[in-house]
């Protein structure tokens, strides 16, 4: 295990613009030994450091078995991500990680999977979708529900369309507000749950996105006899250290950086209904 409290130099080896405000960076450590040592799980994250500006927590979306590059999909929002956006192949930055507890891979095997995500390019869910798609036969049926505020916000339309064609796979898309020509649902993601052709009481559900969306979805799933232990969600809070020391990511008695970011609904159901915690 290498030092996770000081960054290590990494090089941008690939950059893809996913949408107006979303881009992906493929990174490799400059020190090749680190590339060999580095192991992570889907749902875990790294702290990316931009020289002179600061660090931000970003999920890892590449496949845990690929050691070529570590891929991050990033939305441009503020000080740090705006500079990350400008990086080109060959540029350097700092990485430390991986941090946190990822998706419960062991308990997913051979089960039906439901992924519910809301918002713009919700990276933690991308990591698990990618992971499962590459190992499709190890899992049962798979359903993906993606909700966006505005239809224009949806990225990876092509990818979704491809998945829609796959066997045993269902993709349901919803936009709160849709512009003309949006072929899918207009409304909330929860409204799509009845259309699922898998048994949610047996499936493992993974969610990320706005807390109120996750709460509403979880509640409906519970009504359909899903168990709170089988619903997983990825949480977000401000993070400075990522190793449970700085105190920023406290969520009740939990530190999201080390006790999460992935929690079972059972762990957080006492807090989730309350805003501002």
């Amino acid at each position: 295990m290498f030092d996770r409290q000081t960054p290590h130099e990494a090089i941008v080896v690939r950059r893809t613009q996913e949408s107006d405000t979303i881009f992906s960076l493929g990174l490799r450590f400059s020190d090749d030994e680190l590339n060999q040592q580095y192991r992570f799980q889907p749902g875990q994250f790294n702290m990316l450091y931009v020289f002179g500006i600061g660090e931000v927590p970003i999920s890892i979306v590449s496949d845990p078995q690929s050691t070529d590059e570590v891929i991050h999909t990033i939305r441009t929002v503020g000080r740090v991500t705006r500079v990350l956006e400008k990086l080109k192949p060959g540029d350097r930055l700092g990485i430390r990680g991986p941090f946190g507890r990822g998706w419960p891979l062991a308990s997913l095997q051979h089960r039906d999977i439901l992924v519910v995500t809301g918002g713009l390019g919700c990276a933690p869910s991308v990591s698990i979708i990618n992971y499962i798609m590459r190992r499709r036969q190890q899992f049962g049926r798979m359903a993906i529900i993606q909700g966006v505020k505005h239809s224009e916000d949806l990225i990876w339309r092509e990818r979704y369309k491809e998945w829609m064609q796959l066997d045993n796979t269902q993709v349901l898309l919803a936009a709160d507000v849709a512009s003309h020509g949006w072929p899918w649902h207009v409304g909330l993601v929860t409204e799509l749950l009845p259309q699922l052709d898998l048994d949610v009481s047996q499936a493992a559900t993974m969610m990320c996105g706005p807390e109120m969306m996750m709460l509403a979805t979880a509640k409906q799933l519970l009504e359909k006899r899903a168990s709170a232990q089988n619903i997983w969600l990825s949480m977000e809070r401000n993070m400075q250290c990522a190793v449970g020391l700085c105190g920023h990511c406290q969520y009740g008695p939990d530190f999201i950086c080390k006790d999460g970011p992935v929690f079972s609904y059972a762990d957080v159901q006492d807090r989730l209904p309350r805003r501002n915690i």
């Binding site: 977000e236 190793v243 920023h248 501002n276 915690i277």
Partner: protein, 369 residues
């Protein structure tokens, strides 16, 4: 621990000499800027001689007395925390060359051996809490660990709790019970000495100790009982951990918010608070940058900020976070409450908000539902 002997007041400086001989830098209480601060100590004349403190909610004053004692006061704003969890420090640096290559380095500098004189029971209890947080978690905080290792703790039993102290109620004092090297009980003409570690023994051997009389021992016992009796504040009875979990929707939070300045003084002086933030300070030539950590507070904007949104966007949520974490969340995280009853947050709150009072009001509300 049993007594090792009695150190006459006139011989107190032999303790400093012994510590200096061990290569330790001595830190102790002195009067500075109208309050008691811990600073470098080279002679006992710097100690707060003939000084009393008067504390109340949002109130701290010193007065002089004719008493000969040097520790006849309750704690000031800070004691141990800034020595181990320093208010601002560089965690690591990055250098950039003209090609844009980055290099990271963190100083593994060995801090000096530091003897702190005058540590109180509440401070030791809080140190144990900070140790749990910074040392026993998933990952150690190496800067904290390095400084912690170098501490020699010379405790003094409290004989003059302030009007804000409630360490007896929290179970952490006023008597020192744990984690010290030397423990002093101050009497009129000197100090009864106990030692609780090999380091303490080593120091004792350098001291000119007299035998301790039975009446002196009685006096010490009495002083301790008196100190307990003097404490007027206490925590509410009952299960605070559960009460606070259930009171997240209480209207009390808004009532407090009308008084609270959201200034963070309470968290800064609290010896167990550990929140910190990190930021970069690039040098003027933009070729190197220092990554700095500094004390933060759950009362700050940055504490709960995530892209364009502040989760604790109003004072009531910030105060709720602070109180709930300290008196409830902490149980699950560290097996006990995060409060050691030092009363600092009451004294140093500029508007004098009293945690014990707020907790009583909340506990009552809980009992009534």
């Amino acid at each position: 621990m049993s007594f090792r002997g009695f150190l006459l007041r006139d011989h107190f400086d032999t303790l400093l000499t012994a510590l200096h001989k061990l290569g330790a830098h001595c830190v102790g209480p002195t009067v500075m800027d109208d309050s008691i601060h811990y600073t470098t100590l080279t002679s006992s004349t710097q100690l707060p001689q003939q000084v009393h403190d008067h504390q109340g909610p949002g109130h701290y004053r010193l007065s002089t007395s004719t008493e000969s004692r040097w520790f006849a006061w309750a704690n000031g704003a800070q004691a141990l925390k800034p020595l181990v969890f320093v208010p601002q420090e560089i965690l690591w640096r990055s250098e950039r060359d003209s090609e844009g290559n980055l290099q990271f380095s963190n100083s593994k500098q060995e801090p000096p051996l530091t003897a702190v004189i005058g540590v109180r029971a509440c401070d030791l209890a809080a140190l144990a809490l900070q140790d749990q947080h910074f040392l026993d978690g998933l990952e150690q905080d190496s800067a904290y660990a390095r400084r912690r290792q170098q501490l020699i703790l010379i405790a003094v039993n409290c004989t003059h709790p302030s009007a804000n102290c409630f360490c007896h109620s929290s179970g952490d004092g006023p008597e020192v019970k744990q984690d010290y090297d030397l423990l002093l009980d101050e009497l009129d003409d000197g100090f009864a000495v106990r030692s609780a570690s090999p380091m303490g023994e080593k120091i004792c051997q350098q001291l000119q100790l007299e035998a301790l009389t039975n009446s002196q021992q009685d006096e010490i016992k009495h002083a301790n009982l008196r100190a307990i009796e003097q404490q007027t504040k206490h925590l509410p009875e009952g299960n605070l951990e559960q009460a606070l979990k259930n009171l997240q929707g209480s209207g009390r939070w808004q009532q407090i918010a009308e008084r609270c300045l959201s200034c963070g003084n309470c968290t800064a002086v609290c010896p167990s608070c550990f929140c910190h933030s990190q930021h970069d300070e690039p040098a003027a030539n933009s070729m190197s940058s220092a990554h700095i950590r500094q004390w933060d507070s759950c009362f700050s904007h940055g504490h709960s900020y995530i892209h364009g949104m502040v989760i604790h966007n109003e004072t009531r949520f910030r105060y709720r976070q602070w109180l709930t974490h300290k008196f409830s969340g902490w149980f699950e995280q560290y097996g006990r409450s995060g409060c050691v009853g030092c009363g600092r947050c009451i004294t140093w709150c500029p508007v004098g908000i009293d945690v014990t009072e707020e907790l009583h009001a909340l506990a009552e509300e809980y009992d009534n539902v």
